[in-house]
Amino acid sequence: MSWTWFHRLGSPPYIYGLARRLTPWLAWPAGALIVAALYGGLVLAPPDYQQGDGFRIIYMHAPSAWMSLMVYTTMAVAAAVGLIWRIKVAHAVAASCAPIGASFTLAALVTGSLWGEPMWGTWWEWDPRLTSELILLFLYLGYMGLRGAIEDAQRADRTSAVLAVVGVVNVPIIHYSVTWWNSLHQAPSVMRVGKPTLSTAMLVPLLMMLLGFTLYFAAVLLVRLRAEILNRERSASWVREVVGT
């Protein structure tokens, strides 16, 4: 059992180089998948029998919502790793996640609202998923606020890591409680349109979109990660080489 891979994963120059080499391999497939999925979703997929063309919002809403949760989970896992093993690179990953996740949470809220208006007849519905998404946005804002408020970089890393871990424990509880609360107050008079049952022609672009956004996230994360690693690195030797002075 060798631990060298683990140590290498904690080594800033190694990760910096790896991130640089890996980024195009993620970015191009991500772009290709998203473009193909756009074509599939907007052109090839037939309109939904109930929602008509309105259902096509799913190709933007679902990936955004998926990103919001996946990024938060990634952030919390990285934060926990950084906290437990004191790995600086892991904190750099967590720091890179927050702005990406927050912006996609906002996108999920906006697209959800745009979907809600034609379907529910209101711009905002206290639907459990949208409400959870809103709370998730607050969690992101709190995380970024806490990180920004602490001047010492190392303490900012470690303090916000505790918050990320606490938050990820709470996310399922919040989602459950919001769903529970919503089930109590559901007014029976409001006509609800059921979730569209997706045919293959509808489903394939969606899956491609989810995969494309996942790769896209990895690519953006790696670019941000390089920036965060440079910000944390004080020993000049390898930094001098990569920034080329």
Partner: protein
């Protein structure tokens, strides 16, 4: 100076844990009790600060009839929500000072270096916070409920829900307070961190109170609330202790 033989060393200074085995050392429980008693003593030497959250709770619940309507029938519908939001904010208000004085006068460092598990001491501090804010709020809630048109039969349910719910709130709050240690003007940030995490408590607590006001069984939400409190008791002191240690780095 001649060096003393090793046996004398061991007997006097070397191993405090072995002296502990003979009944002299302080156990975690005793240490936690000391922290709890110290916080209560300190609070009672500054009674003015003690009543502030209660006064805040009273004022907020008074604002609602003025903002909505004096009709008890209308107020009754929102009473549970009003009481719970007011309790949540009052509990939050008292949080800022949970660790502030201890950080300022070096007590936190003293706790961290006491050789006692910091988690246990954090739990004791949170317990003191609940005894000083959560419990008085629960005892005061009936007054607010009655003034908002709730029937007298709802009082046990409301008291129980606030009493249990504030346990969870104090625990969540202790994490927030520990995370914001060392940040200047941390009040708004503390609210931003704590309130989203408190949402499940608010939902279950308000529902229990609402059912109590309607005269229905409030056991289910109360059980969920208790589950949250138990989960908080097991996890929150750990997180708070971790955050306190980081603040000392």
């Amino acid at each position: 100076m001649p060096e003393l033989p090793n046996s004398t060393l061991a007997a006097t200074a070397a191993e405090p844990r072995t002296t502990g085995a003979t009944g002299e050392g302080t156990s975690v429980l005793e240490a936690a009790r000391l922290v709890l008693l110290r916080d209560l003593t300190l609070a009672f030497r500054r009674r003015g600060q003690l009543v502030q959250p209660l006064a805040f709770f009273a004022i907020v619940t008074t604002l609602f009839p003025l903002a909505i309507s004096p009709e008890l029938a209308r107020l009754r519908e929102v009473a549970a929500g009003v009481i719970w939001v007011a309790a949540l904010l009052a509990s939050l208000l008292a949080l800022e000072s949970l660790f502030r004085d201890d950080a300022y006068d070096g007590a936190l460092e003293q706790y961290a270096l006491s050789g006692q598990p910091l988690t246990g001491l954090m739990f004791a501090k949170t317990a003191a916070h609940w005894l000083l804010t959560g419990l008085p709020l629960a005892l005061m809630a009936p007054l607010a409920a009655l003034s908002l048109g709730a029937p007298a039969g709802a009082v046990p349910g409301i008291v129980a829900s606030i009493a249990i719910g504030t346990v969870a709130l104090s625990l969540i709050g202790s994490i927030g307070a520990a995370l914001t240690l060392g940040i200047r003007r941390s009040g708004v940030l503390l609210a931003l961190l704590t309130l989203p995490l408190s949402l499940p408590v608010l939902i279950f607590g308000a529902r229990a109170s609402e059912l109590a006001i309607q005269g229905a069984s409030y056991v289910a939400p109360l059980e969920l609330l208790s589950a949250l409190a138990v989960l908080g008791i097991t996890l929150a002191p750990l997180a708070a202790a971790a955050a306190v240690r980081i603040s000392l780095e």
